[in-house]
Symmetry: C2
Subunit: 269 residues, 2 copies
């Protein structure tokens, strides 16, 4: 999916919501594990049916599928195939390796599983990211500023010139691609950072976790993060997919997604 298509979907649905499919066998309703051969897939399908009108992206967290062994990847593939083609897909994999290996990771997510995008870690530098950028209409979503406590360990370390590491990552990496094939993961816990980030990358899409469960406010994120193309994908995982633990979990997920979509519509011209 290219940028124009993504922006069109956002404007059509009046939503920039991304639903995180962090599906955990230990957290899904018990009736699914009793009734279905593949309860994770069944859970995902019903979540997708219930939320697809209110979101523009789905983001499976790859760890949750990987840890189930080979069958987890079958479930991931079946989930991907079930997602409507006009919805943007993000492999939250946070891969990062060089050259030929990076190319293998890119092939995994862009070709073997046909995701639109994959999250990538910046530590190894340009030759760990450039191979991902060679695929047409595919996106690299680079970690810049994350919303966890550990972000303080290195991302906020000031460099000799006074800028924190995450800004150096933004300034250096934006030259590797463009706002047509790169996005950035930017945590929403510090909205003042978003303002400064927009000064460095005014046109890139930002994937923002941490609204809701992790404490960010949608209004604050919109105030500092919105641009002319909207430029935001805001993720919610647990707040939607685990909105209820009962048999009506999918309907509850739909309502939770709809509530966010309605709030988002207020920010879209």
């Amino acid at each position: 999916m290219n940028k124009q298509q993504l922006v069109a979907q956002i404007k059509k649905k009046k939503s920039f919501l991304c639903v995180g499919l962090d599906t955990d066998i230990n957290k899904i309703p018990a009736f699914l594990t009793e009734k279905f051969e593949n309860p994770i897939l069944e859970f995902n399908k019903r979540i997708i049916d219930a939320t697809k009108d209110y979101c523009v992206a789905y983001k499976p967290n790859i760890a949750f599928y990987e840890c189930m062994g080979p069958s987890g990847w079958e479930t991931l593939k079946a989930t991907l195939e079930y997602i409507p083609k006009d919805i943007f897909t993000i492999a939250d994999a946070k891969r990062g390796d060089i050259g030929n290996t990076a190319n293998m990771y890119a092939k995994t997510f862009y070709e073997t599983y046909n995701f639109d995008s994959v999250t990538v870690a910046p530590y190894m530098g340009s030759d760990s990211v450039l191979p991902f950028l060679e695929f047409k209409d595919k996106w690299t979503i680079l970690l810049a500023l994350t919303s966890n406590d550990g972000a303080l360990d290195f991302q906020f370390e000031n460099l000799k010139d006074g800028q924190p590491l995450y800004k150096k990552v933004l300034r250096t990496s934006k030259e590797w691609g463009s706002d047509e094939n790169m996005m950035y993961v930017v945590g929403a816990t510090k909205s003042e950072s978003l303002k400064e980030i927009r000064e460095i990358i005014p046109n890139h899409f930002l994937l923002v976790p941490g609204v809701g469960a992790q404490g960010g406010s949608l209004a604050e994120v919109c105030k500092f993060g919105l641009n002319d193309d909207i430029g935001l994908l805001i993720n919610s995982s647990r707040g939607i997919i685990y909105a209820s633990q009962g048999e009506g979990y999918a309907a509850a997920a739909g309502l939770a997604a709809k509530a966010i979509q309605i709030e988002m519509a207020g920010f879209i011209q």
Copy 2:
């Protein structure tokens, strides 16, 4: 495998060689793809048979298996099961995510596939690494200084106090675990860096890629990197597994591994 067991293996075999199983269907001898249902597994088994007396570790590069889809993970599992139990195993996966997700990645490699260790990226900080350290007799191998050109983008950036980022990563992260459950990836292209790294982490094992194909010298690495427990695992991938492209590829791999082992024996008291 714990540290004592690893050091005992190194002294017994007079080797600190790690063989990288970066097995690529496009690079293995043609007769394997013609004759065998699972040519990658067959290739790996013969490589293991030919090299197991000369190495103390195997390091499958996860990208190469992941990109084959679910069957690639079956091949990885079968490869792991074929490796003798007294040989240390490294999942070269470079994962990095927080909290519950990090725990899922740890479970993937330590439990689902029973690796001794996994490589992890530092960018997200402590809460992306600590979950890996909770598994007994398992190891986290943290990226510190890599040997690619892109290492210059961020790892060598000087912080306000004058130290480069990779040294800050070493100083901060060594407090998260100990030399009994953490190792570091340290590229061998700049052996003077190794000396400085040993001042920060005298007792940790270092996983050193980049000897051979990427240009490091074994003598240089030993001069600055060896400690009382040897403290080095030196990886070679292509130089061993693709030593020959013909039917005798396994024998050639064995000879290539043996040549390195003999050189290594000279550095072990």
